[in-house]
């Protein structure tokens, strides 16, 4: 098990009550595994069926592997413009 930091923004930060979460992940974990782990936390009701996740500032797909050095962020529905 290793810990990764997940950055939260806007409504997600509000719901989880923090701007960053530390999550323990097994080796070879994917984005989908990360999302599953997040669902056990208080405030996770805010997450839609398939939340958008960014790895190293790019949108990631669910089966993408997570490396310990990755910059990980959960992306709420965007509302810029």
């Amino acid at each position: 098990m290793s810990a990764v930091t997940v950055h939260l923004f806007a409504s997600y930060a509000e719901s989880f009550g923090v701007k960053n979460l530390t999550i323990e992940l097994a080796p070879q974990s994917t984005v989908a595994d990360l999302v599953a782990a997040l669902r056990s936390l208080p405030g996770s009701f805010v997450l839609p069926a398939i939340p958008r996740v960014a790895i190293n500032k790019k949108f990631a797909v669910p089966d993408q592997l997570i490396r310990l050095t990755d910059e990980i962020a959960l992306i709420p529905p965007v509302s810029g413009g």
Binding site: F9, A10, S11, A54, F59, I75, P76, P77, G80, G81
Partner: protein, 146 residues
Amino acid sequence: MIRAAIVDREIDTGALISEVKSDGAGAVSVFIGTVRDVSDGRGVIGLEYEAYRAMAESELVAILDEAAAKFEIASLVAEHRIGELGIGDVSVAIAASHAHRTPAIECAQFVIEEIKKRVPIWKREHFVDGTREWVDPTARTEARAP
């Protein structure tokens, strides 16, 4: 010339227009988003934009690169403001120039549509009744603004 920026100051639309004008371009299309005093039927007194800034900048650059390739645009600039904004303030401005009008117009429209889909920026509206809420465009009853 392609330029994208996330800024925490006023957006100068005149400067953006000057930036894309050129002797070979016969058309400049500009889109400006401003803060409305009403949202989803509720009175608004102001709002704030939060960004995942580094990613927002790289996504905005990616959108402009895609748009420039798709519409063969030579000059395209876009700025999105973050932080606290008041009613009427410019939140986003896009300027595109081209020899001809149709690609310029379609390019600016493409850029605002893509910004609304995938640039990680979030709007929190400050309502007249004192509440503050993060906007969830996937839950709006009204056509999305602006």
